[in-house]
Amino acid sequence: MTWLIARQYRTELIFTLPLMAGLLALFFFTGRSITGAFQEQGLSTCLGAASPEPTCMRAAEDVLNQYGWLTTTMPFINFVPALIGVIAAAPLVLEFDQRTYRLAWTQGIGRTRWFVTKLAASLVLAGVSAAVLALVITRMYHPINLAESRWNESFNFAAPVFISYSLFATALVISVGVLAKKALAAFVASFIAFFVVRIALENFARPHFLAPKVLLSQGFDLANRKSWILSQRPVDANGHTIDRLQCFRTDPLPCPLPADLLTKTVFHPDSRFWLFQGIESGIFLGATVLMLGVSTWWLSKRVA
């Protein structure tokens, strides 16, 4: 079985390993040069303080501005778990597409061992490549997170969720492939389904994993900079939102700002980062187990 698995991944890996190595090198060296620049100016120490000096913050910002391409490029890394899923699941799905499973199932080894071994191989490949990528990306974000919030950019690339997304994508491709027995349809349908689930969870479920905290403050609170800020708007002393636009529309002249202008921040504190990682990866891993259970049952019931 090991031979068959290695033989079937061979062609795929010839093409995808250089791509993976390129991504890893990019993130590794970017991380190293940011860390180097921070150390040169002693920024790591001053950013570590509870409320860092504004000069320190500005210097860190200057360094990070040189890496502006990260902000525009990193969202594309959200595609990687789906790609990992397709690549890891392809050899198994192709067996059903080209009907070679009927050859494999009549060999001495038996279909259960065949399926379990192939399934394990896809999951291990997906899990390991996602883990390596996530760790290198997290290392790169380490100095950046000292200066800015780690939620907006680095949450999606932290190891727990990144691995769970990749395993979920793999299970999705396998399940659709087993049910439809068509490889291309399975790849396309899973790719779409993956992003529907992924975007829905990030935007509609993740903010509500726990009730967000609300803070009324005067001006902008620097101590809050590492939190995941859901919304931030000006309010009056009673906590009511000040709608400047509405005021201007009715009569632009008497629109004075109230004297006691406050900022209302709705946020999740930084301390919830790993808890949220746990909840979200738990959801994806649960769905993974469920889908694999259903496809295994389907295979054993709907025999050939």
Binding site: R7, R99, R102, A104, Q107, G108, I109, R111, V303, A304
Partner: protein, 299 residues
């Protein structure tokens, strides 16, 4: 002796349609059996049930006493199976396919596999996807034979072969059976070829077994009776009529002999060929065939 393959009231239903129904026979070890029947009679379904690719809807099937699906660990090493579609890994070379067989089977005859590929003048480095249909069929058969199976289940194995390859393959089949204690069940439409190598037959029509047994026995129990129409009751009451064709005065009946045939001088009794018998069983009750309209043919 435990039969190599035994079915009892075996049935398989896809949705509401029965692909195989009430199929009962037993195949003795060492026999070469032909699985015959018109298209859609359930031949492929029967072979797939035997190797455990499908689950029976009714009745039972046993391979050397084991249930194929339930005891797949015991049954799978005993069976060499070549399905009708002969799926192979198209991206693999022939050598890769042989390695596949070696890695996934315990009692693998690697030497035979390589020698036969060389004998067939096939380049082991060639990709399976680049081979012709006949060559792919040869590779699929090499895989089934090299498994050192005790029961070979072959679905239309020679359909893709030219007459020469067909003859060579049937020779290999008889040699294999003679050398090792192997039982073979092969389906085919080409009756003439099968008659030369097979010693028994299983005939399926309309999804159920109509006839099974050794070919000698089948030949010995069937007769073609030709006689006057008005005396046909004499024959039909004593024997089971398989097929009948009538002309103005005469009737010709293919019957299964239930007792010694005693008929008058006006009857001729001959031994039908195997093909005549098989076709008689396969024939459905006659209905008018649709005829193309003349204009359509001319246009």
């Amino acid at each position: 002796m435990i039969p190599a393959l035994e079915t009892e009231a075996l049935g398989k239903r896809y949705g509401s349609k029965w692909a195989l129904q009430d199929c009962s026979f037993s195949l003795q070890p060492g026999s070469i059996a032909a699985l015959l029947g018109p298209n859609g009679a359930g031949k492929s379904t029967l072979l797939e049930l035997a190797v455990g690719l499908r689950r029976p809807s009714a009745g039972s099937i046993r391979v050397f006493g084991h249930e194929p699906l339930h005891d797949s660990k015991q049954v799978l090493p005993l069976i060499g199976f070549v399905g009708q579609e002969r799926p192979l890994y198209r991206g693999f070379s022939i050598a890769d396919m042989i390695t596949f067989g070696r890695k996934l089977n315990e009692h693998w005859d690697d030497e035979f596999a390589h020698e036969r590929i060389a004998w067939l003048d096939l380049d082991p480095r060639k990709k399976v996807g680049d081979l012709s249909g006949g060559q792919q069929a040869q590779v699929a058969l090499v895989l089934a034979f090299a498994k050192r199976a005790q029961l070979l289940l072959l679905d239309e194995p020679i359909a893709a072969f030219d007459p020469l390859a067909r003859r060579e393959f049937l020779q290999l089949l008889t040699e294999t059976v003679a050398d090792r204690e192997v039982t073979v069940l092969l389906s085919s439409h080409i009756l003439g070829d099968l008659e030369r190598v097979c010693d028994s037959l299983i005939l399926l029509t309309a999804a159920s077994t109509r006839l099974s047994g050794s070919i000698d026995e089948v030949l010995a129990t069937h007769r073609l009776l030709v006689g006057p129409r008005e005396e046909q009751d004499l024959a039909t009451t004593a024997h089971a009529v398989i097929s009948r064709s009538e002309s103005e005065r005469q009737v010709s009946l293919l019957v299964r002999k239930e007792c010694p045939i005693v008929l008058g001088d006006r009857w001729t009794v001959t031994e039908p060929s195997l093909e005549e018998i098989v076709i008689a069983y396969m024939e459905r009750p006659k209905r008018p065939r649709p005829v193309m309209e003349k204009e359509a043919v001319l246009a």
